[in-house]
């Protein structure tokens, strides 16, 4: 198992790096797909089968496809991304990110805390368990999430509509 995990983690990392480093947006989207799939497998490994499936269907299936559609609709000659950033900004970013990682590694190298004991329990990720978690235990944030989606949708509509200046009077 640890070997499998290491392999998946590596794939996920490669995917994430690919999203950032690709100059071509299509490659970025495809790298994202790689990352999503790796995570889906990890979810399954943690007995969260439903989550793994949803990850494939929704993210890998729908969202990445949507990205690709958008990229293709806009056309292939998008300006290459990631140019023009000043070198010192990039260097400072890399150093800070490395420090951040170091700080986290420093702590993560210790024994696991109690909170994670329940993670990976055999039926923890079953549809029933998930249903209970969503509709019984966490019904409030679940409902709030619907408001969040409504807000996002409304925002999308506002931004997508062509701007019309009000009539001068």
């Amino acid at each position: 198992m640890p070997l499998l995990f290491a392999a998946l983690a590596l794939i996920a990392l490669v995917g994430a790096a690919g999203v950032l480093l690709s100059r071509n947006p299509v490659y970025s989207a495809l790298s994202l797909l790689l990352n999503f799939v790796a995570f889906a497998v990890m979810y399954v490994m943690l007995s969260a089968q439903f989550l793994g499936v949803v990850q494939i269907i929704v993210y890998a299936g729908a969202i990445v496809v949507l990205f690709l559609f958008v990229v293709m609709l806009i056309g292939g000659n998008l300006p290459a991304l990631g140019r023009g950033r000043r070198a010192y900004v990039r260097a400072a970013g890399v150093i800070l990110a490395a420090l951040f990682l170091l700080a986290l590694l420093f702590g993560l190298a210790r024994p696991l805390p109690n909170g994670l004991a329940a993670v990976g329990a055999p039926d923890g990720g079953s549809v029933q368990a998930l249903g209970l978690a969503l509709y019984v235990d966490h019904i409030v944030p679940f409902e709030l999430a619907s408001i969040l989606l409504l807000t996002a949708m409304l925002g999308g509509i506002v931004l997508a509509r062509r701007y019309q200046a009000p009539p001068k009077d």
Partner: protein, 479 residues
């Protein structure tokens, strides 16, 4: 197994705001725009009615006992006060929008619906006592505000500001989520009460709280997470700036307070010292930068950053008196800051493709042309500077007194020194209004819109009354 029974009466005001938002969305269908000119403002009327109703429900609900909705949302005294502050700020900002919005947009339903959704997000955030609920509430208000910031789509500054706000907001949300995950890792719980009960210590709690502070610090515009704020505050339509500079701060402060309380196992010395340094950095940076601004709105944006620093002082104090002071200051701040932005909005030249910002000299000679407006603006400026007997002075007094009481004398001294610096740029506006002749580029929207005038009158009255009657108000809050 049974489905849970939920006592929705605990979130009645929030539900009213949400339902109003939905009604506003379909207002165009209910009252087709073409039908009558008089009905153009139907969404605004509806929204205002909803806010007032929510406010009344909050007031009439009596003492909120602290009953919880499944341990996710709590109706306690803190939430009640937050409700009042946010609803007050929202209603005042709405009065400003009333005459402002038609200058640049025809999408009234969408504007007011998003506005109300932001309000709902803030109200929920103030009641959240569980990490997921807290995060979702925070995102509701954030997403609504990202869009509202860029709502003037005819001008690029708004779009640019919104985009920056959004990108950085997403970045900071990442930190907040990571913090929440670490909390969960440490305790296996997401309810704040359970997290507190676990009393877990060590790396996971420490790092979790640190990252949580990053996320909330961003919303509060605390340095060094403040960089988005000047751009967003300047680029957003002024009524939105007025509303969000108060509402977001209020809600995020309450959340910060709750989280800090829950992470009780983290030594007070650590988080309080960290917050004290952030507070010092924030007020100093905000005030120094405000000194050099040439736009009135941007100056107020930096002043708003500085005020986030003052407000943190009360959280650092960590005592009940400290947070009472924060609540008092939020009320005072709602009045004086929204008042200042209201005047700034009246001095702007709203155009169709770009709003021309009010420069720092836009208020010059205002006293000669509109004495009452000038007096009101002088009150806002003096109150923001913390000069007695106005509300801002007492706010600072209570904050700094609480800090001294709990052994943070140096922070209080730093706060006082900062107030001295800030007096310079606030007074510059006052002096200009009373002494200088109007500059050539100065512009005042005439005739004054009734709704904005009402907002100015209300805020001026509040600034004065909160100063003169500070003691009874403060005692009311403490109780």
């Amino acid at each position: 197994m049974s489905l849970p029974t939920l006592d929705f009466s605990l979130i009645l005001p929030e539900l009213v705001v949400l339902i109003t938002a939905l009604l506003v969305l379909i207002a165009d269908l209910l009252w087709p725009r073409a039908a009558s000119r008089g009905r153009e403002q139907a969404p605004a009327v509806l929204a205002l009615a909803g806010l007032i109703l929510a406010g009344l429900l909050t007031l009439l609900a009596g003492e909120w006992s602290g009953a919880t909705l499944q341990g996710m949302l709590v109706a306690d005294a803190l939430a009640r006060y937050l409700n009042l502050v946010v609803l007050l700020a929202a209603a005042l900002g709405l009065l400003l929008s009333w005459s402002y919005l038609p200058h640049f947009s025809t999408q009234r339903s969408e504007y007011y619906a998003l506005y109300l959704l932001a309000v709902a997000g803030m109200l929920f955030l103030g009641k959240s006592i569980e990490l997921i609920t807290l995060f979702v509430s925070l995102e509701i208000l954030s997403i609504a505000l990202y869009v509202l910031t860029g709502f003037h789509r005819g001008q690029l500054a708004g779009g640019e500001a919104a985009l920056k706000y959004f990108l950085l907001g997403a970045f900071s949300s990442g930190f907040l989520l990571y913090g929440a995950a670490l909390f969960y890792a440490a305790t296996g719980a997401t309810r704040l009460a359970d997290i507190a009960a676990q009393n877990a210590g060590g790396f996971y709690m420490l790092a979790g709280l640190a990252l949580f502070l990053v996320g909330l610090g961003f919303k509060l515009a605390v340095a060094p997470f403040h960089m988005w704020a000047p751009d967003a505050y300047q680029g957003a339509p002024t009524p939105v700036t007025a509303f969000m500079s108060v509402g977001t701060k209020a809600a995020a402060l309450v959340a910060l307070f709750r989280v800090v309380q829950a992470a009780g196992s983290v030594p007070v010395g650590v988080w309080a010292t960290a917050l004290a340094f952030l507070s010092l950095l924030t007020m100093t940076l905000g005030n120094l930068a405000a000194l050099r601004q040439s736009s009135l709105k941007r100056m107020l944006a930096y002043s708003s950053i500085a005020h986030a620093g003052y407000l943190l002082v009360g959280v650092v104090a960590g005592t009940a008196a400290g947070f009472d002071a924060v609540l008092f200051y939020l009320f005072a701040y709602a009045f004086m800051n929204i008042g200042a932005f209201a005047i700034a909005s009246l001095l702007e030249r709203p155009g169709f493709y770009a709003v021309q910002d009010a420069g720092i000299h836009a208020a010059d000679g205002l006293f000669g042309r509109r004495p009452w407006l000038a007096v009101a603006m002088a009150m806002f400026m003096l109150s923001l500077a913390g000069i007695p007997p106005l509300a801002g002075f007492f706010g600072k007094l209570y904050l700094f007194a609480a800090a001294v009481e709990s052994g943070w004398a140096w922070l209080a001294v730093a706060g006082v020194l900062n107030s001295v610096i800030s007096a310079y740029y606030y007074l510059r506006v006052v002096v200009g209004m009373f002494m200088a002749e109007p500059s050539a580029s100065a512009h005042l929207r005439l005739p004054l819109p009734a709704s904005a005038t009402l907002a100015v009158a209300l805020t001026a009255l509040g600034t004065l009354l909160f100063g003169l009657l500070a003691t009874p108000w403060f005692q009311g809050i403490s109780r």
